[in-house]
């Protein structure tokens, strides 16, 4: 149990997907201008990363390795993610219109979010057991949600500034300061 908690804490804070592994920078900069869109995107990412990682892990361990077709992993994973996103979109539209309204517009963007393919490839090639894989991918996605939310609250204030550093440059420097803070948590474990 302790090791699982340690894995979760490390995935959320220390090895944060955005601030330490540089995955998913495009949505991090693109949809963090308001709190509402940041939370919508983050929630959609948690959903998709968790499911796609499970699928990728099972496919890799029980299909690709068995058939000795590991070299096909990138093509297989990206197809799984693209179709998964499509299926989730159709499913939500039919069964939960309220959730679809909240997450709908972010779902198509997720296919090209590198955090999704990145986490899927990482867990597939790791030696994690099923439980560890689940905890790791879910916590990584929660880390994404956490950071994009904190960042959007800061950025709402930064929107008012003017000058050459406005928008992307100041956003990157803010992210750098956040990365410093998050990296310091490595002393906790």
């Amino acid at each position: 149990m302790a090791s699982v908690l340690k894995l979760a804490f490390s995935a959320i804070i220390i090895q944060n997907v955005i601030l330490s592994q540089f995955l998913g920078i495009c949505p991090f900069l693109g949809v963090s201008k308001s709190k509402k869109s940041a939370v919508g995107m983050g929630a959609a990412v948690v959903f998709v990363i968790t499911i796609s990682s499970i699928l990728a892990w099972v496919l890799y361990k029980y299909v690709l390795v068995e058939l000795e077709m590991v070299y096909m992993k990138t093509i297989v994973f990206i197809l799984v993610i693209a179709s998964l996103v499509q299926i989730i979109e159709m499913f939500l539209k039919k069964f939960s219109p309220t959730l679809y309204k909240a997450l709908g517009i972010y779902l198509p963007l997720i296919t090209t979010n590198c955090a999704v393919l990145g986490i899927a490839t990482l867990v597939a090639e790791s030696n994690y057991t099923f439980l560890e894989m689940f905890v790791y991918s879910f916590s990584s996605a929660v880390g994404f949600l956490l950071v994009i939310y904190i960042f959007s609250t800061i950025r709402e204030k930064l929107n008012r500034m003017d000058g050459v550093m406005k928008d992307i440059p100041i956003a990157l420097i803010t992210a750098g300061l956040m990365a410093m803070v998050f990296a310091r948590f490595s002393g906790v474990i």
Partner: protein
């Protein structure tokens, strides 16, 4: 003559005017993750140029037979195929670089630059034009990566090292690899340093863009005024 110019324009527009990283702000993930050393940045650049050129050629060649509704999945599969080729070749011949770039090689598949060029250019233009566009954009991206990596590696380690012997060293002890001066700190090769260096580089780019804009506006204003003056002179003469 004009046609020659337009071909040249397709090739060179990716270098500065529409630089994929600095101007279009695409492909941010690799530009932060693998710019800790110039060697990695150049390796990544070559891989991206190959994938971008090949996928642009193929997508342009099949642009008329792909149904519009499923074009994005088709493009992604074409791109993923070339990424797999790059990954296998790199693992076989450059294992060190393959290790250093790690997860970011398969992630070329979801690099917005490649899908972006497929959607915005290759799906509407001829094969040769798409080839030029891919080459230009890829080289522009490589150049941007190299600039950031040079700054980060130099400030982080006190020197630049490429493939063992090439490169130069100013503030680094060659044998131990430790920097001699305080200004060269490891901070610049950490994630936080990457964000801050990239932020400052983007700030400088914005500054240059603003200056260019101001210059153009001033020139336009001057031209307008000279025309106005001429007109008023003419008017007074006639009067």
């Amino acid at each position: 003559m004009k046609k020659e110019n337009s071909k040249l324009h397709i090739l060179t527009k990716g270098f500065i005017k529409e630089n994929p990283l600095f101007v279009l702000v695409l492909g941010m993930c690799p530009s932060l993750a693998i710019t800790t050393s110039l060697e990695n940045a150049l390796g990544m650049g070559v891989a991206v140029v190959f994938v971008l050129v090949m996928s642009n050629i193929i997508i342009s060649a099949i642009r008329k037979i792909v149904p519009n509704e499923i074009r994005i999945p088709v493009y992604i599969v074409v791109i993923a195929a070339f990424v797999s080729i790059v990954e296998m070749v790199m693992a076989a011949f450059l294992p060190g670089l393959h290790q250093a770039l790690g997860i970011f090689i398969p992630l070329i598949t979801v690099n917005c630059i490649i899908l972006g060029r497929a959607e915005a250019f290759a799906s509407e233009n001829t094969v040769f034009d798409s080839f030029l566009d891919g080459l230009g954009m890829g080289l522009g991206f490589t150049m941007a990566l190299a600039i950031i990596a040079t700054i980060r590696e130099f400030l982080g380690t006190g020197g630049i090292t490429i493939w063992g012997d090439l490169g130069f060293v100013i503030g680094k002890d060659v044998e131990t690899g430790v920097s001699k001066y305080d200004i060269f700190t490891k901070f610049f090769t950490t994630p936080a340093g990457g964000f801050i260096v990239l932020g400052i580089v983007f700030g400088v780019v914005a500054l240059l863009q603003n200056r260019e804009k101001a210059k153009k506006e001033a020139a336009a204003k001057q031209a307008q005024e000279t025309i106005k003056n001429q007109f008023s002179k003419k008017a007074t003469k006639e009067a």
